[in-house]
């Protein structure tokens, strides 16, 4: 399973401050810590919401420069504004890029879709349209179908798509965990060449012992067919469980990756 490290996100106050103060050292360290914990991609989100679009663009450009200078891992450029994504990906010199994210909303497909095609990037595609997060599996799949059709029209392959089934806080509605898991299963069944990704930590919002709940849901999602996860890679137990899940779902032939990680001392129980 691919791990996309989520920690460089301006919705975290410390990160927002570091971006405002151009604190390169803090952010570079945050990137390095995630890479040394095993992250495959580093998500970068510079959007604090304060100030103009110009500021958002300048912040995102600067942040991409800082992170790619600090680590040798590909980036996921995270924004819902096409202008920010376009500017940030201009700064990005790597050849593997994830754009995070699009939805089935026509305006978002029209503005961000061409950027994905042009950069031959991968893209996180949220299983929702203009009416918010659908409560039912079928409606989420409908959104995926609309995205698939539109992106195919731009020459984007299924392999470039990471469908996000969407994770809602289980504290608010305990039926929604299964909806997410079933959506993953169905996406994998319908589009064998596309991949799935989800932001993990939303599941445990509003509940105690969140990490425990995150880890348990991660394993269930792995069984349902999850290919990538956006979360805090500094959670070493969850990182170990990802290796375990790869073994148990037949994605780690002969357990070699698991044993390599064990010999490096990276597996904790």
């Amino acid at each position: 399973m691919l791990v996309i490290g989520e920690n460089i996100n301006a919705s975290n106050k410390l990160v927002a401050e570091a971006i405002d103060n151009r604190d390169e050292k803090f952010l570079a360290e945050l990137a390095r810590a995630q890479v040394s914990s095993g992250a495959d991609f580093i998500d970068v989100n510079a959007g604090s919401g304060h100030g103009s679009l110009q500021k958002a663009i300048a912040d995102a450009r600067w942040l991409v420069q800082v992170v790619q200078a600090a680590v040798d891992k590909p980036l996921a450029i995270d924004s819902d504004a096409a202008e920010v994504i376009a500017a940030a990906s201009e700064e990005y010199a790597g050849d593997r890029l994830i754009i995070n994210s699009i939805t089935a909303e026509p305006a978002r497909l029209e503005s961000i879709g061409p950027l994905v095609a042009e950069r031959q990037a991968s893209v996180v595609a949220l299983a929702m349209g203009v009416d918010g997060i659908p409560e039912r599996v079928e409606e989420r799949l409908d959104a995926c179908e609309r995205i698939m059709t539109y992106m195919a029209g731009l020459g984007v392959n299924a392999e470039q798509l990471f469908f996000d089934p969407l994770v809602l806080p289980i504290a608010v509605d305990t039926r929604q965990g299964v909806v997410t898991l079933k959506t993953i299963e169905q996406i994998k069944a319908r589009y064998p060449d596309a991949r799935t990704v989800m932001g993990l930590s939303n599941i445990s919002y509003g509940l105690p012992k969140r990490k425990l709940m995150n880890r348990a849901f991660l394993l269930m999602a792995a069984y349902a067919g999850l290919d990538a996860v956006i979360f805090d890679p500094l959670d070493s137990k969850a990182m170990s469980l990802i290796k375990v899940a790869d073994v148990l779902t037949g994605r780690d032939p002969s357990c070699r990756a698991y044993l390599r990680a064990h010999r490096k001392g990276d597996i904790v129980d």
């Binding site: 959007g47 929702m128 918010g132 997060i133 504290a171 608010v172």
Partner: protein, 228 residues
């Protein structure tokens, strides 16, 4: 007897026990009548709806609010209590209408344009309904014009605006600007909430209050109500 029933309603709200079948936060009241059974009893005994609301339902919800703020209670605990209160209010509604008792005030709530998050908004709506306000939920992704129109036509005393995204919170300022342009700003208290916003942001856009969680929305409205 009536005092006992009201006290029991309060305790069962704190326990989040809507009916006899609910176990509750812990199992100390398990098997005893829940809020709905007690409501039936209270109405049979001709206890005034006002006492049921203030000394039973609202008093119970206040304790729940304290426990939520101190992190003893979690979201599902709060929702269970709010659901019990909401169900009780549905039972009381015809009684209140018949007795021509007015609600504590009218509250409209919306997630602003461009934002489709509704969980926080819904929790605020449930709690305020439970606290005795008449709640009008305008939905998600609501354009400023529609909000202004509602304020003009329906004249709510309070307006709640929700946004989860840093990209949509600025829309709250747009709504306040539109209210000013229509000379409606002084007719309504505007409260804002959502993950992206803050006290500072509320001041920046000229909102009346920032509410960190649903209970602070209840407290804010209650304080306005007392002052009026």
């Amino acid at each position: 007897m009536s005092k006992d029933t009201i006290a029991a309603i309060k305790e069962n709200v704190i326990q989040g026990r809507k009916t006899q079948e609910d176990v509750g936060i812990d199992d100390t009241l398990a098997g005893t009548p829940g809020v709905m059974e007690l409501m039936e009893q209270a109405l049979e005994d001709n206890i005034s709806p006002q006492s049921i609301i203030t000394e039973g339902l609202t008093a119970g919800m206040e304790v729940v609010g304290e426990k939520f703020s101190s992190k003893e209670y979690f979201i599902p605990d709060m929702l269970a209590s709010a659901e019990a209160v909401g169900a009780a209010m549905d039972v009381l509604k015809p009684v209140l209408e018949k007795a021509k008792v007015e609600t504590k005030g009218r509250f409209a709530i919306a997630t602003v344009k461009g934002d489709i998050h509704d969980i926080g908004k819904n929790i605020v709506a449930i709690l305020l309904k439970g606290a005795g306000y008449e709640v009008h939920d305008l939905g998600i992704d609501v354009p400023a014009e529609k909000i202004v129109e509602f304020v003009r036509e329906e004249k709510p005393g309070y307006l709640g605006l929700s946004a989860l995204l840093t990209t949509t919170m600025t829309e709250m300022g747009v709504v306040i600007g539109a209210l000013k342009e229509s000379s409606l700003r002084n007719s309504v208290k505007v409260l804002i909430g959502g993950a992206a916003v803050s006290d500072e942001f509320a001041r920046e856009i000229g909102a009346d209050a920032y509410c960190a969680d649903a209970f602070s929305a209840v407290r804010a409205l209650d304080s306005y109500q007392k002052a009026s």
